[in-house]
């Protein structure tokens, strides 16, 4: 009894697996999934999408959803429940992608045998008579047996691989071209699968560190045991009259400079599997301070307690942002505020102990201001803002897409053509087959027939 039960269970599982396999390999399913994918992807362009950093931060997420509720009213809850604010991370999206990948994989595996046979298997050269009388592309050319030699040459000249068999006085030919096009669809599908896996690798193993501010000359640790230092930042005119931005960045590993490169938009710095992109820049000011003997004066930034002698660079988060600079030796405090107007820097100098205002104003670029026994010079500078990215999926994605494009070229522009010829006593019977592109093959077949006729005529003329 138990054996019978096992047998039945095994049978059911086998049937189930077969059905699932067949279902997954179906072209109808592929079409359905593609249509579904179009709809899902399209939804992401008609409903605002929550940015990834917002989705990963509870308070930012709540804030974003509150704005969405204001905009969509009661529909917002429905959109949220349906995952429409995060379409590209929603379970439906993931399910469609996974099913498409499975469908692609199963289709490819199913076709591998046919592909292999199509490339390496010996062709069937001798075909029955019915084959020559029922094929769609067929022709008969009056010729004698001696034409067999010419047939081979004509086909080879047209870049066909020719296999010849002689049996009972009849010469049979098989000729084909573009048999590597069998590989086309597996290559395309393989490329698609690699791209899907690359996307997964980017999502699960990639990371990015946005808004890495590099105040000039300062060493900014970025983790991984290394740090960055901005050596220079230039806003330049490009040859076409537009602006160009260039940041010279030094990479320090264990406090030793290991790389120095100029980073521009479209030209990131790469180090240790991490790419550093120039995303924006911010305003900064260099303050030089000398006493009456032209000796360097010590200054300290109040917010960071950073200290420097003679010269210090202060960066601002943007327009309206300010910093306090202390000169304890001379009992001075400078309030520096950056504005969007020209000149952009507003300075107030106070006495440190009682806060008495000593001077204020908008110093011009490079202008020297003497207050409380110290001569200050203010020079405009900029600092770069970088984004650090580690993306293990990029390389495989490019490789996958390249393989896919190669497969497409092979599929569409290297057609598979097959010919069978039988050279008997008084005629050449010719049959042709093409896997795709039937109209194109019609022309090719006509050309082959014409070339054979010509060859036979030339032979007769001799």
């Amino acid at each position: 009894m138990s054996e019978g039960k096992d047998f039945t269970r095994t049978n059911i599982i086998a049937v189930l697996v077969t059905r699932i396999w067949r279902g997954l390999s179906s072209l109808r399913l592929a079409a359905l999934l593609l249509a579904l994918f179009v709809i899902v992807v399209l939804l992401g362009t008609v409903v605002p999408q929550m940015p990834s950093p917002v989705a990963g931060n509870a308070s930012a997420r709540a804030e974003w959803l509150a704005v969405a509720r204001q905009r969509f009213g009661a529909r917002a809850a429905l959109y949220q429940w349906l995952g429409l604010f995060t379409v590209y991370r929603s379970p439906v999206f993931v399910l469609v992608v996974v099913l498409l990948a499975l469908n692609t994989l199963v289709c490819t595996v199913n076709r591998l045998g046919v592909v292999w046979r199509g490339i390496v298997a010996s062709p069937r050269v001798i075909q029955p008579t019915a084959f020559y009388t029922q094929a769609r592309f067929r022709a008969t050319i009056p010729a004698d047996r001696a034409a067999a030699d010419r047939v081979s040459r004509v086909l080879a000249r047209r870049r066909y691989r020719v296999v010849q068999v002689v049996r009972e006085g009849v010469t049979y030919f098989y000729a084909d071209r573009g048999r590597w096009s069998h590989l086309a669809m597996p290559l395309v599908h393989l490329g698609v699968l690699v791209v899907v896996l690359a996307f997964a690798a980017t999502r699960w193993a990639g990371w990015r560190m946005p808004d890495v501010v590099l105040p000039p000359g300062q060493v900014v640790p970025v983790g991984q045991g290394w740090a960055l230092r901005s050596e220079d930042f230039a806003v330049e005119r490009a040859p076409d009259g537009g602006w160009d931005y260039a940041a010279t960045i030094a990479v320090l590993a264990d406090e030793v400079e290991v790389q120095r490169e100029t980073v521009r938009v479209n030209a990131p710095l790469r180090y240790g599997g991490v790419s550093c992109y120039l995303t924006s820049y911010g305003p900064a000011v260099r303050v030089d301070a000398r006493d009456e003997q032209v000796s360097a004066v010590t200054m300290r930034v109040e917010s960071t307690a950073r200290e420097a002698q003679g010269s210090i660079v202060i960066s601002f988060a943007g327009a309206g942002a300010g910093e306090k600079l202390l000169v304890p030796e001379y009992d001075l405090a400078l309030d520096l505020v950056h504005h969007a107007q020209e000149p952009p820097l507003f300075v107030q100098v106070r006495r440190l102990d009682d806060g008495q205002l000593l001077a204020q104003g908008y110093p011009d670029e490079g202008e020297k201001v003497e207050v409380g026994g110290v001569r200050f010079t203010f020079t405009r500078e900029y600092y770069p803002v970088l984004e650090l990215v580690h993306d293990p999926g990029f390389g495989p994605a490019v490789a996958g897409a390249s393989v896919m494009v190669m497969g497409l070229v092979l599929a569409f522009f290297v057609p598979r053509r097959r010919l069978w010829l039988r050279v008997a006593e008084d005629e050449i019977c010719l049959v042709g087959q093409a896997r795709r592109d039937t109209p194109g093959f019609e022309e090719e077949f006509a050309r082959v027939v014409e070339a054979l006729r010509q060859a036979v005529r030339d032979n007769d003329a001799r």
Binding site: V41, T202, W243, V265, Y277, V398, L408
Partner: protein
Amino acid sequence: MPDDWLFILAFWGLLATVIAYAVQLLVYRRWAGWLSSGLAVAVLLAQGGGLVARGLRAGRWPLTDVYEFTLAFVAATVLMWLLLERWTRVGAGGAFALGIAFLLDCYPLLRVPPARRAIRPLVPALRSAWLPLHVGTAALAYGAFAVAAGAALLLLVRWAVERRRERLMLPATPLEADPWPALDVCDAVLYRAVVLGYPWMSLALLCGAVWAQMAWGRYWNWDIKETWSLIIWLVYTLFLHLRLMRGWRGLRLALLALFGFGTVLFTLWGVSGLARAVGLQSLHVY
């Protein structure tokens, strides 16, 4: 400017070419075929020459805004049509394909104000060797899909004519006297047009992804423009898969090809408006 004159010349030449192809469709004479193809080559030379002249004047590839891209799109449509005509030896779709090209050309020449045609400095992100590769391949793909839409229109008209003939029980025109290709030929022309465009579209997505990685550190960002480019690719992927299924040739695929071309036009002209309406930000807006 010489480029402007060349674009105007190409515009009127295109109109003449469409008329020549229409005449070819009606009278089915060999001279009409030569004339229309010759005119199409002349239009391609004028439009291509205009693009080269503008590129030389700007000192960069003339593919950086919608004005320039549409001009390149028109040139690509004419080029793809000529390739398809040579490949299929069917000239009947020319009136439709180049008719679409003519309508496309109305946008840069009649709708874009002169101030917006001026050559402007590029934003840093556009100063890249990937610009001609990504935008050029996209223009070629769009051109082929415009030609596919023309072939789809040819198929639809042919289908409507046959339906009418069947309904009225009129005798069929002898094949050799019929200037309109048979339905299966129209279907083959449509398929080949899509085949011409699909690899270019795939390549455009690939080049765009590499460029995006170079510029922004993200090879795919689900940016609205990227997403609509993917939608174009998916629609034509669907086209190629459906064609392998029984009962999906002819009329249905022609309608899908027209829908696909609709997605192309929307990606070119509609996406910015959609982004504004929905409140989506796009890295592709300069």
